[in-house]
Symmetry: C2
Subunit: 197 residues, 2 copies
DNA sequence: TTAAACTCTTGATATTTGTCAAGAGGATTT
DNA sequence: AAATCCTCTTGACAAATATCAAGAGTTTAA
């Protein structure tokens, strides 16, 4: 892969903010492991039932992960620029995915195969520590999310999420956010009416 | 710490099943990093607001993690023999804990400090791989749990959990399981009445 | 071994949230 | 520019779940 300015920016930013500056040589070695691709709005990165054999770093755009349950789309998560997207269970255990991933807008990705992913740690030993930190943070985020379902009403979940993700509300269909928060679009709409601000 | 038979059994079992047999010397070095302790039923391993500065391996017994919200105890999780218990957010980021952890029955623990925990990887390099695997599995478990709140009714969550955790139902007050599944004890009781088996 | 404290259940009722149906406004396509 | 599809809203109603209150068994503690 040719090292493009964009990936240097986003990925570098990510790595830099995590464990400082790397040798240019190392950074280029890492970025060579990734493959650039584009998705048009609506394109699928992963279809339900497939094996998710790559991890994708979002250079720009938005991805939605969802599953089909009884004819209803359940939105698990929406991933934004600067984050990774994958079905971790499928990626790690090489089993078919319950989730589909599609692009909510035109999206640029840098994707890495499982095989290449394992090479990162060989190139940059600090990677393992970063990776661990990253997964732990994902874990904590999910723990908070479970907690919100145990202790909060739909309205409270809405308010908390709105405070922390205001920009997302202008970027994606609200029905997806509703689903992600565990409520119907109708309930979501009514809650919004009571929270005009 | 003197290496007792019990920790050899449970911890060894855990490590063995994960990455095979270690040199006895290494295993003993690891277990020396842990400290044995006992909790009586009702004793607290961690009180809400404290920093959780250790990770505890449960040799025997049961621990419940919960938070107090508006005077209601929200049970986040119940940990059993052979698993670790900690407030990961507090342990990793050294901030005060939202959760309290107490013993539901007399419980034996092997606890390790953050400082000593980091030494494990120095003694057994494979530890990092195991640790990563472990955290990922926890992540996947939580992801499934979130999914259950997005796509399932209280009754379905009950049924799923019951199928996978039948023994727990005879070991702990059911109200804790109800809370952990995100419903009141009354709803839980009514669901059980409809699921006599 | 009695009293107190838990734990679970059940009923009556209130609240929250979902379902169904219809329509308005925007965006996209032809 | 019209037709079509999306997206969001709203209303009426239904279903799921919570709340409150009381009571019956159990367990725990004095």
């Amino acid at each position: 892969m040719i090292i493009l300015a964009p990936i240097m920016t986003e990925l570098e930013l990510y790595i830099h903010s995590s464990f400082g500056i790397l040798e240019k040589k190392e950074l280029s070695k890492i970025s060579e492991l990734f493959e650039y691709s584009k998705l048009k709005k609506g394109d699928f990165l992963l279809e339900s039932g497939q094996k998710c054999n790559k991890l994708s770093f979002i250079q720009s755009g938005l991805l939605r992960m969802f599953a089909l349950v009884d004819g209803n789309e359940i939105t698990q998560w929406i991933s934004t620029k600067g984050y990774f997207a994958t079905d971790l269970a499928s990626f790690v255990h090489e089993k078919s995915s319950r989730l589909a991933i599609h692009a909510l807008v035109d999206t640029e990705l840098y994707s890495i195969s499982k095989e290449n992913y394992d090479k990162i740690g060989e190139i940059v030993p600090q990677w393992h520590a970063l990776e661990k930190q990253f997964i732990i943070n994902c874990f904590i985020t999910l723990e908070d999310r479970v907690f919100s379902h145990l202790s909060m009403s739909a309205e409270q979940r809405y308010q908390l999420f709105f405070e922390n993700n205001k920009t997302l509300f202008n970027e994606v269909p609200l029905q997806y956010i509703a689903s992600m928060l565990g409520m119907t679009p109708e309930t979501f709409s009514r809650i919004r009416k009571n929270n005009i601000s």
